[in-house]
Symmetry: C2
Subunit: 448 residues, 2 copies
């Protein structure tokens, strides 16, 4: 009925197809609107399991579904593969760029910004070359290659010092992703690669975890943080608290501790999970609308997620700055759904003033190793096997689609039972030397 | 017992961990030798299903197992991730290069060369940028990204001519890989992407198949070749026989037919499966040993697969030139196993002269589309559903490991029944423009 009242349906542009964007699109499923989801990637990524793709447990397809496949049954939604680069809030247009550089203009009546955050190196973008982040599928595949290739390099190293460096893995950042990766690397070294190498002993791999504050998993509270640290140490992870990384190169990193002393740690694999920053579109939006950004670039919003001067622009998810809510999938889902509902209510011309957004904390979880996880749900704190079982249920409940769930359960069962991992295959890097030219390598005179 | 006779076991170096190298290593499992398998990639790739990884049906892990995981239960085998770059047949040393450029020397008593072939552009290596080949995992992931991204680009194209170009896929080479890819693209367009797009009709995608000879699947004989061509045409593949590609760029290709006339075909996706050539190590080996190479670089061998002047060097698989045997997995397996057995017999000091290698033709198969394949086993020629069932059984029998088989069967069942594909996720290319700088894009004056 409402549909018939509108000759041209109201146009809703959603920037970003992560949890926030997807939940906004879902909340609009019965609204008489034309929704456009624009994302620089063609897939909805199940970010909380990205580390399992990096660690060789899950395949890309198990954690990333094509956005348009997820949304195929919503006739009022269309998807565009393009990156939003600017917004004109007076003309109500989003400017986007296609992968080949072509320009797109997307006019809107309502705009929902759900662009997420990307890895931050705190002004040291030069670290990225040697210390990849963990935000995209490409990052995960890069890390998978680095992890497994490091053991291969150690196996063929002739210098013992070089071998030790290849068998040392440094993780910067003691949040959930850093902790999860640290646990994974120790499990790969101890279980997955067991008896595969002839020269090295993979179980000797060192994992160093550097964290700036005085706790890993600080957001879980002191009790669970201490439990997690104990489990990690038991696994063989060396935790360095109160440290700041001041340099990273191909052979290791330099770390400053609270006394001001600098120490160099040799390590051929450095992974970075230490911080996030808003993508450039957030700054463009702030410039155009006069919205304020916090230090990481998050955009301050009203209690109803709108921008002060622009009630038709809503900001959701990780890139939203409201009551210091953390960058969790749960926050993204709830703010996305709220923004979608708010647009629907305004289309349906409901008189009632919308209630401000209220976050319902459903808890958070971090996997540490086989059979061990920490979970915080309100006052309930779980660790060890109980935590792991809850972790399992929560992740199964939220994985998109039945087939992903079945596939993940099978993969987890195999990895849990035998330690082996199905998805260890990696493509070689562009940076590895190409076969030609032969010049510069050692070759016998007979064939020179 | 034999083990005890030798203080230092005889050293066997196998270059390449494909079918030939793996079967050689297996044939040596009970021999008192120290085997080293050296490969530039850490994985054994199940090459015959690589196109299914490109097409989004199978994951990397389903078609590529870590070499050292496959060989973990063989205590006399070690694996090295390095590329063989030269051989000194008088000093009995293989020179290799690690991924970081470091040099390795591998002394041997017996050498088995099983390096395979790589894509050839017939002297036009500049085609590779716009027309990727189909030999490695990286190729498959690159093709997967290009295929699915082409439909995304068509969806956002504003110019109808550009849209048509994005929806045109050109395949160069009418062998099994070209035919299999052609079938896959038509199935993706017709089934997988059904109802996912709003602007384009994915079923309109054109697939052009260019072949130099007068038949596709020529090696299957005229009867099956004609059946395959009919099935392809019925699927909507446009077959251009007797054509030679003379130029490829980002927007299409130029093709010369037998009359000498040149035609330009606009197509934004060009895939190349037309030819193979030997990797550089083959030329290095030929130079060092005086062995002769055929036009594609294959190395001529004696009937017992050794080189004329070097009875301790054996060449196997695709890179071997013997009785014009084709580059099939089956030939690689049989020659690899033969070479491994020959080394074992010589270690065991058997007096008997080894019989020359004899190829037992177990047949060949090519998948065309759901429920249709062609199979040739001696005089038995199968096509359609019967061929497809045999194809299924043969591939299940040869897939490495039970889990790969189970995974593949599940993936095939889903794709066959519903047309949907689990592994459509792809990482964006390095060549896609990065978010910054914004300069050069259209942006409103207000935020410039």
């Amino acid at each position: 009925m409402l549909m018939e009242d509108h000759v041209t349906p109201r146009r809703v542009v959603i920037i970003g197809g992560g949890f926030a964007g997807l939940f906004a699109a879902r909340a609009l499923r019965r609204a008489p609107v034309a929704v456009t989801v624009v994302d620089r990637r063609a897939h909805h990524l199940f970010q909380p399991l990205l580390y399992q793709c990096a660690a060789g447990i899950l395949s890309e397809g198990q954690i990333a579904q094509p956005l348009r496949a997820v949304l195929r049954r919503r006739p009022n939604v269309s998807c565009l593969l393009a990156e939003a680069i600017d917004v004109d809030p007076r003309a109500n247009v989003v400017y986007a760029r296609r992968p080949d550089g072509g320009a797109l203009e997307l006019p809107y009546d309502d705009l929902i910004v759900a662009v997420g955050m990307r890895q931050s190196y705190f002004g040291h973008d030069e670290f990225a070359e040697h210390a990849p982040g963990m935000k995209t599928l490409k990052d995960a595949l890069d890390i998978r290659r680095r992890l497994y290739q490091a053991f291969e390099m150690a196996e063929t190293a002739t210098d013992p010092e070089e071998r030790r460096q290849w068998l040392t893995f440094a993780l910067v950042g003691g949040g959930p992703t850093g902790v999860e990766l640290a646990g994974q690397i120790r499990e790969i070294a101890g279980h997955t690669l067991d008896r595969e190498f002839r020269t090295i002993d993979s179980t000797e791999a060192r994992v160093l975890l550097f964290e700036g504050s005085d706790k890993v998993l600080r957001t879980f509270g002191p009790h669970l943080a201490d439990r997690a640290a104990r489990t990690l140490r038991h696994l063989g992870v060396e935790i360095h608290l109160g440290t700041v990384v001041t340099a990273v190169d191909a052979d290791g990193l330099i770390v400053k501790d609270r006394s001001g002393a600098s120490t160099r740690f040799p390590a051929r694999t450095v992974l970075w999970t230490a911080g996030v920053e808003a993508p450039p579109i957030a700054a463009a939006l702030a410039r155009a609308t006069g919205a304020t950004q916090d230090r990481a670039g998050r955009i301050a919003v009203q209690p109803d997620l709108t921008l002060e001067a622009y009630p038709n622009i809503r900001v959701t998810g990780d890139v939203m700055d409201l009551n210091r809510l953390p960058g969790l999938a749960e926050v993204a889902m709830q703010t996305g759904a709220y923004a979608g509902r708010a647009v629907r209510h305004s289309v349906e011309a409901r008189k009632k003033q919308p209630r401000p957004f209220r976050y319902v904390d459903l808890g958070s979880a971090a996997y540490i190793c086989r059979g061990k996880a920490v979970v915080k749900i309100g006052r309930i704190h779980l660790s060890g096997l109980a935590g792991w079982l809850v972790w399992l249920l929560v992740h199964l409940a939220f994985l998109t689609g039945f087939r992903s769930r079945l596939g993940a359960v099978l993969s987890w069962a195999v990895t849990f039972a035998s330690g082996s991992r199905r998805e260890r295959a990696f493509a070689m890097s562009d940076r590895d030397p190409s076969p030609e030219p032969l010049a510069g390598t050692r070759a016998p005179a007979t064939s020179a």
